[in-house]
């Protein structure tokens, strides 16, 4: 298993020198969404607290790094940590409101969506942060400004994000924090009876998750060179973040990566294919059908199903 993982990493490192720039671009999105999915996985997958507003953290992180870069001349390499910290602060507020007052299931979903929507409306209406026009980042190609002439540099940054977050989640899984998260998802009351401070553990999960997502916001901003309130704080982005770990297997180490490798190419292919046929937006129907299929046939996601298959083989 370890050998397989090392081999996969080696292939991914070598790949940009073999494949064309289109494939590199697709892979950048696969890695980046796997990273965001992994960040969500900590609170949404392991702890089972369904945040459906994680786009808010991407937006806060991205806006913070972009504004600090534009107005204070601060390098995004530093700004990304500040963006992450601000996102973590918002995560702490949302988490405290949700967990302290016992909002579960749909109510927690609504709370997280509501906060993301508030962020979106504020960003749309405050001209100091670009208002409805959004923020545009001038391309300098300066690596110090988190900008690269060569697309492959973004590829490696995204790859590192994905691998580092996965290593972190793997480590969490093997420690007390991870064991508590998994138990909380199954029965919070029983956890309390066994000496687990569930509020504290869930808060830590939410803060860590929102921090990582906020750091990802910097990549989003400086890879796409623009931040649009409706895109970066909107529900569709939150759905994109959630759907990969769910399809791949929420609460598993490999779920977000697997889900991203399944969904991102599918979205890309169906988008291109349907757009050529004049059926714009039809890829969303494919997404919807796939999600229904996963919920029906693989309710725990693709990764646990793969593991079962591998074990059955002699």
């Amino acid at each position: 298993m370890k050998l397989l993982a090392l081999l996969a990493v080696a292939v991914l490192v070598a790949l940009p020198f073999v494949v064309g720039s289109y494939v590199v671009t697709v892979l950048i999105f696969i890695f980046f969404y796997a990273y965001l999915g992994q960040a969500w996985n900590i609170v949404g997958g392991y702890a089972g607290q369904l945040s459906a507003g994680h786009a808010a953290f991407v937006g806060i992180g991205g806006y913070a790094a972009a504004l600090l870069s534009a107005h204070a001349g601060l390098s995004p390499w530093i700004g990304m940590w500040i963006g992450g910290a601000l996102a973590a602060l918002l995560g702490a507020v949302i988490g405290y409101l949700g967990f302290r007052f016992g909002l579960r299931g749909f109510y927690f979903v609504l709370l997280t969506v509501a906060f993301a929507e508030i962020c979106r409306v504020v960003a749309l209406n405050v001209d100091a942060v670009g208002g409805a026009l959004g923020l545009y980042i001038t391309f300098t190609g300066n690596p110090r400004q988190f900008q690269f002439q060569d697309n492959r540099a973004y590829y490696y940054v995204a790859l590192v994000l994905m691998l580092a977050s996965t290593a972190l989640v793997r480590s969490i899984e093997r420690h007390r924090f991870g064991a508590y998260l998994t138990a909380i998802r199954q029965d919070e009351g029983a956890c309390e009876a066994l000496g687990v401070d569930t509020l504290r553990v869930k808060m830590r999960a939410m803060i860590l998750s929102s921090f990582l997502t906020g750091v990802g916001g910097t990549f989003y901003a400086f890879y796409l060179f623009s931040l649009q309130p409706n895109a970066v704080f909107g529900i569709p982005l939150s759905v994109e973040i959630i759907i990969r770990p769910i399809v791949g297997g929420a609460g598993t180490v490999m779920g977000p990566i697997l889900g991203s490798f399944i969904l991102s190419p599918l979205a890309e292919i169906s988008r291109t294919y349907f757009a050529q046929g004049g059926w714009n937006g039809a890829h969303l129907i494919v997404y919807g059908l796939l999600l229904i299929a996963v919920v029906l046939f693989l309710p725990q996601g693709a990764y646990p199903a793969l593991l079962r298959l591998a074990r059955r083989r002699p």
């Binding site: 007390r176 064991a179 508590y180 138990a183 199954q186 309390e192 009876a193 066994l194 687990v196």
Partner: protein, 244 residues
């Protein structure tokens, strides 16, 4: 000195007095039975003691410390562990992982927690089931698992809520031996039990609740002979059988 000292414990649910001014004391090393008809308030007492419910009045002193207002996890860490009448295993975790979560309360390092969990699993006789998912266990094994998890938090006082319910005669005998051994190992036990044979043989003393109030207390023999107890369980006509 008593390990647990409860005075004037009161809990209302709306207009219903679930527990009314209960006094109770449990000595170190004691096995105290808590019995009473359905709806007498036994489980409510457990929920109050373990911090899952907040009392409307009264005091709970555990190890000399007032624990009213503490959260369940804090009370657990002070050394009072409870089981649930309707068992609450983590269904998609293995038996060992279930117990591990409890052991982590005392042993933050994973390797040490696993070691402690394994020892408890063997102790309650779940050794052969150690890798099975908790959701696949029989009821008797789930009850054992519930007990194992509570033990793994290394309590000085164990609150057992109907650990015999739903078990067959053989399983009950095994559980009775188990609970007796735990008590002999130095852990005080407060036992809610409907199985009279079990509670009578295990308890040093018994407290009888009816409609939230203590109606009798004493040794098992005293309690069994108390007419108020017979009345509460069976109705007045059994105390004074009507003449034919």
């Amino acid at each position: 000195m008593s390990l647990l000292e409860v005075s004037g414990l009161t809990k209302r649910f709306g207009g219903l007095l679930a527990v009314g001014g209960l006094d109770l004391s449990l000595a170190e090393g004691e096995m105290l039975g808590l019995i009473g008809p359905n709806g007498a308030g036994k489980t409510t007492v457990f929920n109050l003691l373990s911090g899952f419910l907040r009392p409307d009045g009264g005091e709970i002193r555990f190890g000399g410390r007032n624990v009213v207002g503490l959260k369940p996890h804090e009370i657990c860490r002070l050394g009072m562990a409870r089981t649930f009448q309707i068992v609450r295993p983590f269904p998609r975790l293995s038996v060992l992982d279930n117990v591990k979560v409890a052991a982590l309360a005392r042993h933050p390092a994973m390797a040490r927690a696993l070691e402690a969990a394994r020892a408890v699993v063997d102790r309650v006789g779940l050794g052969p089931r150690v890798t099975d998912l908790a959701g696949s266990l029989t009821l008797a094994d789930r009850k054992r698992l519930e007990l194992a998890r509570a033990l793994a938090t290394e309590p000085s006082l164990l609150l057992l809520d109907e650990v015999m319910a739903g078990l067959n005669a053989t399983e009950i005998d095994a559980m009775v031996r188990q609970v007796a051994a735990i008590n002999q190992g130095g852990i005080s036990v407060l036992l809610i039990e409907h199985n009279m044979r079990a509670v009578m043989s295990l308890s040093h003393r018994i407290i009888v609740l009816s409609f939230g109030e203590k109606i009798s207390s004493g040794t098992p023999r005293e309690v069994a002979a108390d007419r108020r107890v017979i009345e509460a369980y069976l109705g007045e006509e059994y105390v004074h059988p009507p003449q034919a």
